[in-house]
């Protein structure tokens, strides 16, 4: 099926992009840091398969997957990560700080949530029909700005969807050490309806996302979508304190395997080769691009 193939391909694109990225660090082509989306691909693929191209998205430090599923060009992202003038934001932002069309990201946990809330307000005032999505992780439930925003979004009935990707860890901190009480209760307390799924099956996620996106677009007010998932790679480039057993155990939930079972072997190979070509082109092209230079802007 076309639509199963498309979902698979999106997930594969994210997977291969992130893998390539991590490997480029060892070649020294990349500096700084990055947060790979590997393991969580079904979230982004599912959600962006039911949003509109003009919807507004605020993403966080783990934004590559969101960006690619949003429809962003791998080449422009690769160029940004390699610090090239042709990158999404000319090399100024890097991995965590990107912007393209209606997609934005920033590297401060929680700080993006009120910003996204304000975007939703603007779209509502301007009656554009666009909804706003903002992505947070389980760890970001620690930040106060989130709750200030939930309150405001609910009071003003803003068309915003809070997507909580619970990959069960914040950097090295397991949710038991970071999150008291219940995740859904955090939204419900503000009168914000909650859709919650514990799955890496992109079709389940897609259908939950479809319901929440519809609810928000209907104008009823904000909604939240809690997706319990797994991160397969380390938090960033650093070490991963999880046990090897755990890393093996969670691989059974690989969204590519789960959804791949719905595709024929030919479809999988086709996806693989198409994605490979795109990724390779992206990184090779980006690598040939010039580095940015600073204009003569400010006195020294």
């Amino acid at each position: 099926m076309d639509h199963n193939f498309a979902l698979y391909k999106t997930m594969l694109l994210i997977r291969r992009f992130e893998e390539r990225l991590l490997s480029e660090f060892s070649t020294g082509k990349l500096v700084g840091t990055t947060h790979a989306y590997i393991g969580q691909e079904a979230d982004a693929a599912g959600i962006f398969s039911v949003t509109e191209p003009e919807d507004v998205v605020f993403s966080n430090h783990r934004c590559h997957g969101h960006f690619l599923a949003y429809g962003g060009e791998p080449y422009r992202l690769a160029a940004e990560l390699m610090g090239r003038a042709t990158g999404l934001v000319g090399g100024r932002g890097g991995s965590q700080h990107i912007h393209w069309r209606n997609f934005y990201s920033n590297g401060i946990q929680g700080g993006i949530v009120p910003v996204a809330t304000g975007m939703a307000l603007a779209e509502k005032v301007r009656a554009t029909g666009k909804i706003t999505l903002v992505f947070i992780g389980d760890g970001t439930l620690g930040e106060g700005a989130l709750y200030e925003s939930l309150n405001i979004a609910a009071l003003w009935k803003l068309h915003i969807l809070f997507v909580l990707e619970d990959n069960r860890h914040a950097q090295t901190t397991p949710v038991e050490k970071g999150v008291a009480g219940s995740m859904s209760g955090r939204f419900a307390a503000f009168g914000i309806p909650v859709w919650e799924r514990d799955t890496t099956d992109v079709l389940d996620i897609r259908s939950a996302a479809d319901e929440t996106v519809r609810a928000v677009r209907s104008g009823a007010g904000p909604a939240s979508l809690i997706l319990h998932t797994y991160r397969f790679s380390a938090h960033s480039k650093g070490d991963d304190p999880r046990s090897p057993e755990e890393l093996v155990r969670i691989r059974q939930f690989d969204p590519l395997t789960v959804h791949g079972a719905r595709l024929t072997a030919e479809e999988c190979t086709k996806a693989e080769s198409e994605v490979d070509a795109v990724i390779n082109d992206a990184f090779v092209r980006a690598d040939a691009d010039p580095f940015p230079v600073l204009g003569n802007q400010v006195r020294r």
Binding site: V56, F58, L88, V89, G90, R92, G93, H97, I98, H99, Y104, N106, I108, G111, I112, V113, P114, V115, A116, T117, G118, M119, A120, L121, A122, E123, V125, R126, G144, A145, E148, S149, N151, I152, L155, W156
Partner: protein, 330 residues
């Protein structure tokens, strides 16, 4: 003459009338209350949909304004007391001011955050500070302060029209002050020159050649004039005053012109001394001109106490300015 408060209020009315993107946000800003200092009075009656009273969530309010600005509106936020800017520091430093440059100039963030600063009303340590200095020099953020000489209405209108984020610092004691008229009252002996663009500076030149230059902004212009009068009457010392509306980025050209004449700089501000506005003013001045003499007058490096006897001792007085001026010319 209208008061500073009248003019600020008028500017908000005018902005909302002429630009439907302008939206007000803040705590308790609805009529009949109209905000803790009444600056937003009348707005919610006239523009009920575009005046949003908010929960007590300073960080989120500024964040929301950032988002609105990124998506085409022109929010104006009121933070009830300037002491609470500590709560919006992350939004101002890591969001508002960064987006434009960080996103490679592809966005604009036309946010205005207005807030009353300053003491001398017995409000105590968490409601009397002058914390604007925390945000002076933050790349991408402008800090602007009205005074009783320039038109606060024009200044605020310019801030709202600005494509970049502006922190607009209103001293509480200015609100009730009537606007000054050049050539009248204690301005009679000064020639007033206006320079700069949307956030002008004013140079007050006395009849005779001045022996020092006082640099100041906002409410402290009132103290500076009183000190200048005293210096003239009691000590026959003529003083130039350079009054700034734009605190940051630092654009000190009019000050440098004055210093060429006087070669003595006295900065005056109400915030605590260390790393206040005057520090950067002084540093730039001496980097540019060798052989300047410099003094700064500011609050003691202490919290602002509640008791008047302590508050008066902590905040800078006219006499402090006079003394510093005398030591400078001695």
């Amino acid at each position: 003459m209208p008061t500073v408060l009248d003019r600020l209020n008028l500017a908000l009315h005018y902005a909302m009338e002429t630009d439907e993107r302008v939206t007000m946000l803040g705590e308790d800003i609805l009529d009949p209350y109209g905000g803790a200092f009444k600056v937003t009075r009348g707005l919610s009656t006239k523009f009920p949909k575009r005046v949003l009273t908010t929960p007590i969530s300073e960080a989120a309010i500024v964040g929301v304004a950032n988002g609105m600005a990124l998506r085409g509106l022109r929010p104006v936020v009121e933070i009830m007391f300037g002491d609470f800017v500590t709560l919006i520091a992350d939004q101002l430093v890591n969001h508002s001011s960064k987006f434009r440059w960080m996103y490679n100039d592809q966005v604009r963030v036309p946010v205005v955050v207005r807030t009353p600063m300053g003491g001398r009303r017995g409000y105590g340590p968490t409601h009397s500070q002058s914390l604007e200095k925390l945000f002076l020099g933050v790349p991408g953020l402008k800090v602007v302060a009205p005074n009783a000489l320039g038109d606060p209405a024009e200044l605020l209108a310019a801030a709202i029209a600005d494509d970049d984020p502006v922190l607009f610092v209103e001293h509480k004691l200015l609100y009730a002050r009537p606007l000054l008229e050049p050539g009248k009252g204690d301005l009679i002996d000064f020639q007033v020159e206006q320079t700069g663009g949307a956030y002008p500076a004013f140079t007050l030149r006395p009849a005779d050649s001045a022996r020092l230059t006082i640099a100041c902004y906002g409410y402290n212009f009132e103290l500076a004039r009183a000190a200048a009068l005293d210096l003239l009457m009691e000590h026959e010392i003529f003083v130039e005053i350079v009054l700034f509306s734009q605190l940051s980025p630092f654009d000190l050209a009019p000050l440098f012109s004055s210093l060429v004449r006087t070669r003595k700089l006295l900065t005056v501000e109400e915030g605590t001394l260390s790393l206040g506005w005057g520090a950067e003013v002084a540093a730039r001045a001496v980097e540019r001109m060798d052989g300047l003499r410099v003094r700064r007058v500011a609050a003691l490096d202490l919290p602002v106490a509640n008791a008047k006897s302590l508050e008066d001792a902590i905040l800078p007085s006219v006499q402090d300015i006079v003394n510093a001026a005398l030591s400078l010319v001695s």
